[in-house]
């Protein structure tokens, strides 16, 4: 579904991502670990095509289409979606309006199905009438993002730190809905959606099963492996040590 080849990205003249390669197949969920500033969010923003993120080398293929130079909304039309970590506040634009926009509805009223989805996320109708992200708590931002994604129903979803600033109870709920969004409840052969989850703390990984995990360091993918193993190594020994372990095991494999 997604094929990133030799991607190099600059932000304000500074190279943040260097020759990055990553493939995510249909039905797969990948998780990306990495310390602050390693380029995780830059990667997501680049995949989404935000103008401040300049691709200076390589390309991004999505569903067989070269999207490297497509505007954001064209990528979204092809089936990309994103759950933002720090979405902007927009005065006068209600969460309900955002849901309708995500759904591609022109009406002002909110779809009954969406109200039912909102209920599952503990989002009330009153909350749908609030200006989006204005005064939302950390957990409310995440749930609002996920509700918008449920309405949008993308084929490939990126989650930027879905577990940061969220209490334990909400992490479980968010993990459950993310699993649904990413077809995790279906038999592997029936899974059509794909996802890329960025996490700093890794706490979301207790509530969603991924197929592959990567550790990003200084703008590259430094190591890849089974999610359980990588998560454990990252949690227990930190990013750099995890990469060392990863490199060493590769060497062992090679021998």
């Amino acid at each position: 579904m997604l094929e990133i080849k030799d991607l190099t990205v600059e932000v304000e003249g500074k190279e943040i991502i260097r020759n990055l390669n990553l493939n995510i197949e249909e039905g797969e969920v990948h998780v990306l670990f990495g310390p602050n500033g390693c380029g995780k969010t830059t990667l997501l923003m680049t995949l989404l095509g935000f103008p401040n993120y300049k691709v200076t080398g390589g390309c991004i293929m999505f569903k067989g289409v070269d999207i490297t130079n497509l505007p954001t909304n064209e990528r979204v039309k092809l089936g990309m979606g994103m759950s933002f970590q720090h979405p902007p506040e927009i005065r006068g634009v209600k969460l309900g309006d955002m849901v309708n926009i995500a759904q591609g509805r022109k009406e002002e009223t909110i779809d009954e199905d969406v109200i039912a989805l909102a209920k599952r996320l503990n989002i009330s109708v009153e909350f749908l009438n609030r200006d989006v992200n204005l005064g939302f708590s950390g957990g409310e931002v995440k749930r609002s993002e996920i509700l918008q994604l449920l309405a949008q129903s993308p084929d490939f979803i990126m989650f930027d730190e879905p577990d940061s600033g969220v209490d334990v109870e909400n992490i479980e709920l968010i993990g459950k809905i993310m699993s649904e969004l990413l077809d995790r409840n279906k038999m592997p052969s029936k899974r059509e959606k794909a996802g890329l989850i960025i996490t700093h703390s890794g706490s979301i990984m207790r509530h969603i099963k991924a197929d592959r995990a990567h550790v990003m360091l200084e703008g590259r993918i430094a190591c890849s492996g089974m999610p359980d193993e990588i998560t454990r190594n990252v949690m227990e020994t930190g990013f750099e040590r995890c990469v060392e372990l990863c490199v060493r095991s590769k060497e062992v494999d090679a021998e």
Binding site: P71, T72, N73, V76, G81, I90, G92, V93, G104, Q152
Partner: protein, 406 residues
């Protein structure tokens, strides 16, 4: 004050410049020809139909308790369909009610400036709206002041009275024919909200690039009375200066003003709202949203003067700039004259934020669509205090005005 004294004071103020706004020449405008009265709003010439609709007027009169239409300087239609409501030209009302003269120039001083003086000396009609004591006229009254010919000087004096414990909802539009290149509108409006009464006043200004406009409005609110104003201007205007003022004189008197201005072309606007919180526990809220594009220049003023015990006033004014050749001057002012009161303001002027556009694009909108959603959101003021049906309708009118610009 006798009529003679009033005229004398007006005469003395004939050349008195206004405190604010450029000094415009008001000589040379004419009253124009008399227009015949209509049997129904449907008879109003087809060519002006859209201009009326744009000002929020419902030609079928459906859902309206009364309708008033003044074309240039003639009242061409005035009808009441609701008991407890009075609606007629101010001229007729003064003949009918001897007591009405005591309300003239009580809220707005006749010698405030040359514009008020000119309305006294050369008045051309205006409307009188009154709800009888205890009568809740929940269905809105509609009134429209329309200019259909060039060089017209419309000089109206409007009086609105909500008697004790009554309720009035008014939709009023000022509109000008597309064919008019240059005209003048001087409008004095005096509102009296008696004890426990409520007036909601939704006004759409639908001017044109050749219009010079000087409204002079004031509201007097007694104990437990409420005045709610929603003002919308989305069309160009050559020059508009106004500073409506609400005097909350009664205990727990409340005033709320919401102003939405989309200034385009070479529009020049100096628009303010002032509330004087004199009564114990009186409160006011002033909300304004101003967008300036092209070469428009807008001064957005707001002023709360706290004088009464436990008075509370809040100002929230926001501006959005869409052009490098436009200008917004946001001037909120607070004045407190005793210790036990609470006044606050927030003001901000900004641009359409790039990250907001990107966020919306990430939900599938094009850059253009995203910008339009943000602008609409910016202007989206929650309309409060109106009966549900009217609130819905006001929202619809607002959306229609918006559609033309965004």
């Amino acid at each position: 004050m006798t009529k003679k004294e009033t005229i004398e004071r007006a005469e003395r103020a004939k050349t008195k410049k206004a405190a604010l706004g450029e000094d415009i020449t008001i000589e040379g405008y004419i009253a124009g020809e008399e227009h015949e009265t209509l049997n129904s709003l449907d008879e109003f010439p087809e060519e002006y139909r859209q201009d009326l609709l744009d000002a929020g007027i419902e030609p079928s009169e459906k859902g309206r308790s009364g309708s008033f239409l003044q074309r240039d300087c003639s009242v061409v239609f005035s009808t009441v369909k609701y008991p407890g409501l009075e609606l007629m030209s101010t001229t007729d009302a003064l003949k009918k009610h001897d007591w009405l003269k005591d309300y003239l120039w009580k809220a707005v001083p006749v010698d405030q400036d040359k514009y008020t003086a000119d309305v006294e000396l050369g008045q051309t009609q205006g409307y009188f709206i009154r709800s009888e004591p205890g009568k809740k006229v929940t269905m809105p009254v509609q009134s429209c002041l329309f200019i259909s010919s060039d060089k017209i000087g419309q000089k109206v004096h409007n009086i609105v009275i909500a008697e004790e414990n009554s309720e009035l909802h008014i939709i009023t539009g000022c509109s000008v024919s597309h064919a008019v290149n240059s005209a003048l509108h001087l409008g004095v409006s005096e509102f009296y909200v008696k004890k426990g009464a409520k007036i909601t006043f939704t006004m759409i200004h639908n001017w044109g690039p050749g219009m010079e406009v000087r409204p002079r409005s004031a509201v007097v609110i007694e104990d437990d009375g409420a005045f709610i104003s929603n003002y919308i201007l989305m069309t160009p205007v050559k020059s508009l200066q106004m500073y409506p003022t609400a005097y909350c004189v009664g205990k727990n008197a409340r005033a709320s003003f919401q102003t939405v201005i989309y200034a385009i072309g070479d529009t020049k606007i100096d628009s303010g709202t002032r509330t004087v919180l004199r009564g114990e526990g009186s409160r006011s809220e002033i909300i304004s949203r101003v967008i300036a594009t092209d070469n428009a220049k807008v001064i957005a003023r707001s002023d709360v003067i706290g004088e009464g015990t436990n008075a509370r006033g809040h100002i929230e004014c926001r501006g959005l700039m869409l052009s490098d050749t436009a200008e917004i001057d946001s001037i909120p002012e607070l004045k407190a004259t005793r210790k036990d009161l609470d006044l606050s303001h927030e003001a901000a002027v900004g641009k359409v934020a790039e990250e907001e556009i990107q966020y919306l694009m990430a939900r599938g909108l094009s850059e253009e669509e995203a910008t339009s959603v943000i602008i609409r959101g910016f202007l989206n003021v929650d309309i409060t205090g109106l009966p549900e049906g009217l609130a819905r309708e006001t929202k619809k009118m607002f959306d229609l005005s918006l559609e033309k610009v965004v």
